[in-house]
Symmetry: C2
Subunit: 247 residues, 2 copies
């Protein structure tokens, strides 16, 4: 048996691949606190020696850890364990139709109100713009198996998305239309809880005072506001669920 055979070979003995093992090793040390925030991770060339592999392999492991925000990489200085992030939510932008049909339920859509107007002061504040261009204000409802699923209250900035003026939002939900016509570069989500007011309760078919989950989403395309949307979900029945892996 040659000396080289001591090296961990890919796929050897059913184990995960080498770069995954390196990643998991480091991740474990971080999550157990053995390497606390601020700790400098061994340099790539040190990890090369420790795992007897090439730099690209340790680089792949470290890059993925950096992508996951577990470590921070600084040229010339090295890689450092980051402070744990705040409790933060990341909600993927998705189409309500896709969301509902993926649950195996039939999708329904009703346009409640759609009007085009010059942005009011309130509109400008909500969109975070200072100039008074045209906007479209939309109120609509999404339902699953003919039961109200969410009500949507949306503002679209026509100066960013002029094509939206020609879209038929009676036929197509604005979320779907935007997702298919406007690439977004940045988004912000805020999740909160409220109790249903009269109008929301009526639209969702729930009691006034019942809990609602509220999601506010702002979307930008290269520093220009695209749209601001507020979604009300009935809190008793709707849940946001996410499962994810740490390895």
């Amino acid at each position: 048996m040659s000396l080289a055979s001591e090296r961990v070979k890919p796929g050897a003995s059913g184990k995960p691949t080498l770069y995954k093992r390196i990643r998991l090793d480091i991740e474990t040390r971080i999550l157990t606190g053995e390497w606390p925030p601020g700790h400098r991770i061994p340099f790539e060339h040190q990890l090369m020696a420790r795992y007897r592999c090439s730099r690209m392999t340790v680089n792949k492991a470290l890059s993925e850890l950096a992508q996951a925000d577990l470590i921070e990489r600084r040229r010339r200085a090295g890689s450092f364990v980051r402070r744990p992030q705040h409790l933060s939510a990341v909600l993927k932008i998705a189409d309500m139709r896709a969301e509902i049909t993926a649950l195996g339920r039939s999708y329904g859509y009703q346009l409640i109100d759609c009007r085009r107007r010059t942005a009011t002061a309130a509109d400008r504040a909500r969109l975070g713009v200072s100039t008074a261009g045209k906007v479209i204000a939309i109120a609509c409802r999404h339902s699953a198996d003919n039961v109200p699923f969410a009500v949507e209250d949306r503002l679209i900035d026509l100066s960013t998305v002029p094509e939206a003026a020609t879209a038929d939002f009676a036929r197509e939900p604005p979320g779907s239309w935007l997702l298919h016509h406007v690439p977004w570069t940045e988004a912000e989500h805020t999740i909160s809880a409220v109790v249903a007011d009269d109008r929301t309760a009526k639209a969702l078919g729930i009691a006034v005072g019942a809990p609602c989950l509220v999601i506010d989403r702002y979307t930008w395309r290269s520093a220009r506001t695209v749209t601001a949307v507020r979604l009300h979900y009935p809190g008793e029945t709707h849940r946001l669920v996410a499962r994810f892996k740490g390895g």
Copy 2:
């Protein structure tokens, strides 16, 4: 000028690097709908030809897109645009103390109740285990600047984390202790909205019937349940915010 100079060089003209450009190109086509869900992305060797680069470069771009769940890669078959994910939330596991101090507020912690017992049927159901081992049940409160921030109701499976029996949860919040002593491999979050019941209202110092944001978190370590925790936040004042980039 040589033929090779036609190739996009790293750092040329202040542009992003090549693999990032490839990633952005593909991402844009997906997000605009030009490549709909199910569409097969050009094979790596085709992208090599199109961008005149090595396979490792396109592989890095595609790997990152796969990590972001935008595409799915299947051996021998190719890479495919994934259906948009459901509206799903990813909440990073973080320490409540870190979360509050990061907001520039002082952290406070009060243990309300802590008892060790053999798992009841309800405990087993909540933890998703079938055997009746020992558990620790904890109720506590986190506050920011002496104002209640969240109440926590937690169950720890002692058969997975026997060391927890010796921890002093009157001194250290169980979330912090676990984060520093137990590496997790998987987690699941559920966000919902409820109205405060009597006990919750009293602990949070809000009115009965006021909206609350509820986060349920389950944590596993390699197929064994570690802990189940339910957090109640006052919905009027607390918000989960996340900002993220699409490029």
